[in-house]
């Protein structure tokens, strides 16, 4: 169906331009769109009439599907995930879906497995899978802490 036969986000094959593009988590988009909408409310009586359908539908979507609402928490989520040298795409999938277990995280972002095995090869001491899972587990714990204190 897709024009690019190769495209497969599960393996992080999404085309170079998108791999380098900055992705945004739902919660970040919610902050941006809500801010834009508030600005419109100040200048117009009927702000919903001023925005496109795409804007309206997306705003509704990100409001419902944001795991973090507080702007500080949103910033912290990106900060924490950035420590794990993830691709932008992987970072945002994790921030959007908030997996609770290592198995779920790998199911949601299969490419993190490949990523950790690349690191593994680079090390003089071969790190086993258990170690990789540990790193993922720490990341998930850090994320759930933000949620708890939000």
């Amino acid at each position: 169906m897709s024009g690019e036969e190769e495209e497969n986000a599960a393996e992080l094959k999404i085309g170079d331009e998108f791999l380098k593009a900055k992705c945004l988590m739902n919660c970040e988009v919610a902050l941006i769109l809500e801010h834009k909408y508030e600005q419109l409310q100040k200048t117009s009586d009927d702000p919903m009439n001023q925005v496109s359908q795409v804007f309206e539908k997306s705003l509704q979507y990100v409001k419902r599907f944001s795991r973090y609402k507080n702007p500080d928490a949103v910033r912290q989520v990106r900060e924490i995930l950035s420590r794990y040298q993830l691709a932008e795409f992987e970072l945002c999938v994790l921030g959007n879906l908030c997996p609770e277990t290592v198995e779920e995280a790998i199911a949601m972002v299969p490419s993190i497995k490949y990523f950790y095995s690349i690191i593994k090869c680079g090390h003089p001491h071969t790190r086993g899978r258990a170690h990789d899972d540990e790193a993922i587990e720490k990341m998930l714990n850090d994320l759930s802490l933000i949620k708890k204190f939000e």
């Binding site: 169906m1 897709s2 024009g3 495209e7 497969n8 986000a9 599960a10 393996e11 094959k13 999404i14 998108f18 593009a21 900055k22 992705c23 945004l24 988590m25 739902n26 970040e28 988009v29 941006i32 769109l33 834009k36 925005v51 496109s52 359908q53 795409v54 804007f55 539908k57 997306s58 979507y61 990100v62 419902r64 599907f65 795409f89 945002c92 999938v93 959007n96 879906l97 997996p99 198995e103 779920e104 199911a107 949601m108 972002v109």
Partner: protein
């Protein structure tokens, strides 16, 4: 996935909107850009256009001989939404048919989950139709479902995307909020 993209764009300003004072010119460039952006709706490459964030640069204007309009090449950053094959997303069920359900995700309404891609689920005709399973929560209108994208299609005439999705995989299916 929502993307922050940098886009080159051509903005055409009618002669009467030109002003020797740069400020008003800049304003009409931004206004035209916002209009164009909303009208364009989506492109095959970048997906749906949501919002303009910042105007990065305005190039030198070129006068169009016939009309007197001036064309300004500009670069701005904006937010788009594009759906990728293999991506895992969450969406809301908005229509249930005998052979599958339609979901809404971001600006896209035509996300089809066929009953052949819903293992263990069977259709049940009731006052409001529903898909039932012995092992998993039921799928009815307004339920949030986590799915994987197995195919996407760009419809040039409608400037819309369609997607085929599946529940075949671990940790996919209805999500309790």
């Amino acid at each position: 996935m929502f993307l922050k993209v940098k886009l080159p764009w051509n903005v055409v300003i009618p002669a009467e909107n030109l002003d020797p004072k740069g400020l008003i010119l800049q304003r009409s460039i931004v206004l035209h850009l916002l209009d164009d952006f909303a009208c364009r709706k989506a492109t095959k490459d970048l997906g749906y256009f949501l919002a303009v964030m910042t105007l990065e640069s305005i190039g030198e204007g070129k006068v169009r001989q016939n009309t007197g309009e001036v064309l300004f090449p500009v670069v701005f950053s904006g937010i788009t939404f594009k759906i990728f094959r293999g991506e895992i997303l969450e969406g809301t069920v908005h229509k249930i048919l005998k052979h599958g359900v339609f979901l809404r995700c971001g600006p896209i309404e035509n996300i089809y989950l066929s009953c052949t891609k819903m293992p263990d689920y069977r259709y049940m005709q009731a006052e409001s139709p529903v898909f039932l399973s012995d092992k998993h929560p039921k799928i009815e209108k307004d339920v949030v479902v986590r799915f994987i994208v197995i195919g996407t299609k760009w419809l040039e005439a409608e400037r819309e995307f369609q997607a085929l999705v599946s529940l075949e995989g671990d940790f996919l299916g209805p999500v309790s909020e």
